[in-house]
């Protein structure tokens, strides 16, 4: 069988991406101001979804379902904000957010991989605990010094449309963009990626090939927590400069949907999150501009309904990694 080029293997996604890109630029040249603001809004909303979806990608690719992303994110936002408030350093805040993410990741990893706790239960526990403690220990009236600032990436920020949308945001947004690409590369082109996919797909094959399944899962799930923590830090320190109870607002669950929408692939999940973000941006744009006279409730349903429509139209079952949800027990 002749080897296929990247383009041959990815005809449909690449074609879709091209069409979308052309349409986006057509929009841009028709009305640069609106186009940039809407795409920026899309990306602004997509950042936590993408980061959350990456947490899911790493976990599920390693064979561990993570429905605790919501809680991990919330704790990240909480820990980050209050650490920043206490130290008056946003930098320390982000670090604290990331560390709290690691702690939550480690909880998931050790209870499920080592303790063989059911993965969904572990996720639910994380979500309940997160809601509980972030409300319980919440303190009103704390402030942080100005949130993370936006900055322009040299050269890249000058690209029309893409520049202002992706390259003049805050550090976490930029990090999210980079991490998706890096993760895609790591997952499909490196030794870690090959092993991770093997471990999530067919752990006993990985085990017999001399890979330490347990150790790899522990490492991956724990470290993935970092991204959830950073997503939380984005919410409380980059997107806003405040912590609200329950501010993750279901984004962790949406991230889960984005992850599946994106077929467990980082770049596709990015595309899915941008799609969702853009639909939200369109909904509020329609609302604000009053061009259509239908109740806002219906306009606001746009992202949810269209996601279902797109998925139904695209058909074709995407398949979860083969071993997701199942603990690996040696000698079984």
């Amino acid at each position: 069988m002749p080897e296929m080029t990247w383009l041959q293997r990815n005809k449909i996604p690449a074609g879709t991406a091209l069409v979308v890109l052309v349409a986006a630029y057509a929009f841009y040249f028709a009305n640069p101001n609106i186009a940039v603001s809407m795409f920026s809004n899309a990306w602004f909303l997509a950042v936590p979804l993408v980061l959350g979806a990456m947490v899911g990608v790493i976990g599920e690719r390693s064979g561990v379902v993570n429905i605790g992303i919501e809680g991990q994110m919330l704790v990240g936002a909480f820990a980050g904000f209050f650490a920043a408030a206490a130290t008056q350093s946003v930098f320390i805040g982000v670090i604290a957010g990331a560390l709290s993410g690691i702690a939550m990741g480690a909880f998931l990893a050790f209870t499920t991989v080592k303790g063989q706790l059911d993965q969904i239960i572990a996720g639910v526990v994380i979500n309940i605990v997160a809601t509980g403690i972030t409300s319980f220990y919440y303190e009103s009236g704390k402030t942080i010094p100005r949130g993370l600032p936006n900055f322009d990436v040299p050269l890249l920020s000058k690209i029309p449309l893409i520049g202002p949308v992706f390259f003049s945001d805050g550090p976490i947004a930029l990090f999210a963009l980079v991490i998706v690409i890096v993760l895609h590369f790591l997952l499909f082109k490196t030794r870690w990626g090959l092993r991770t996919r093997a471990v999530g797909e067919y752990p006993s094959a990985a085990d017999t090939a001399g890979i330490n399944v347990i150790a790899l899962r522990l490492f991956n799930v724990t470290m993935a927590g970092t991204l959830a923590g950073i997503a939380g830090a984005y919410l409380s320190m980059e997107a806003t400069s405040t912590f609200e109870r329950g501010m993750s607002s279901g984004r962790g669950f949406l991230a889960l949907a984005i992850l599946i929408f994106g077929a467990w692939r980082p770049l596709r999940a990015l595309a899915a999150a941008l799609f969702f973000g853009f639909m939200s941006a369109s909904a509020s744009q329609l609302q604000a501009s009053n061009v259509v006279n239908i109740p806002q409730q219906f306009i606001n349903l746009l992202p949810y309904v269209l996601t279902l429509v797109v998925l139904a139209a695209a058909a074709g079952r995407v398949r979860a990694p083969g071993a997701v949800g199942q603990p690996f027990v040696k000698g079984d």
Binding site: S37, N41, L45, T240, E244, S249
Partner: protein, 323 residues
Amino acid sequence: DNSSDGSSAAPKDCSSTEVFCIGLVTDTGSVDDKNFNQAAWEGVKALEGDGVQTKYIETKDAKDYANNLKQFTDQKYDAIVTVGFLMAEATVTAAKSNPNIKFIGVDQFQDDKATAPNVTGLIFPEANAGYAAGYMAGLMTKTNKLGIVLGAEIPPTQAYAKGYEQGSKASNPKSSVAKVYHPAGDNAFSDSPWGAGEAKKMLAQGADFIFGAGGGTGNGALGEAAKTSGAGSSIFCIGVDVDQWDTVPEAHPCLVTSAEKKLTKGTTDLLTQAKDGSIKGGNFVGDTGLAPFHDFDSKIPADVKTKVADIVKQLEDGTLKVA
């Protein structure tokens, strides 16, 4: 902080006449929500002191309103404040079976047919506050583009929005208002990142005044405006419900004022009446208006100040009515 500030040490029997007990039941929010639950609680606490005992319960499930009220009625509290319109019916029901207790329903309009004599609804003409804010924004905008970021679409947010739109049109017919409601759901008033995103989009599309009206969601919008370059010189924001200079410090760079409904004062006033027995059933219309300009006091042109003050006065005395 503890619910029973100053009184938990030696709680006295509320049924006795020597102590006046005030209870507060929050909406499904907390007393430190930087918003109306907090404002009402502060109104209660203002009465603390000799012979007054206060306590609150935070509701976690909307179906617990009646049970939470019962905790207070069982203990024969003298006055009970319930916060938020969702509790209107539970409040009236409790009032009917406890005719000796005074009930104050914040944001609860009392319909003659369905109320009880011992319930007083503390209501606010939010549209007036919105009108004043819109009027001021209309005068000050350079781009003629204004934005409102709202929580869920409910009567108070609708009223703010309507007032704001009318006020801005009145002072500046060329101005236009972009208005967005958060999609309905549990998070509609706590989704600050969404609010920030909307504000960001409006600002990018040329708006220079952002009115954040929807709890945490609105606060997110204020914070975003405060971060935008030009905040305080060409970009401004307006808070809602309470003087958000005190509750949303991160908005200081752009926060010119807040469309205020004077919840704390209204609560305190009504409780004082309840204590001295002069309270009446029906509706009590609380004050609305604009909060102080704080740091912006010196930056706002004098003519703007006078025009706005004039409008606030007209709204107060009823010569100006918001349709």
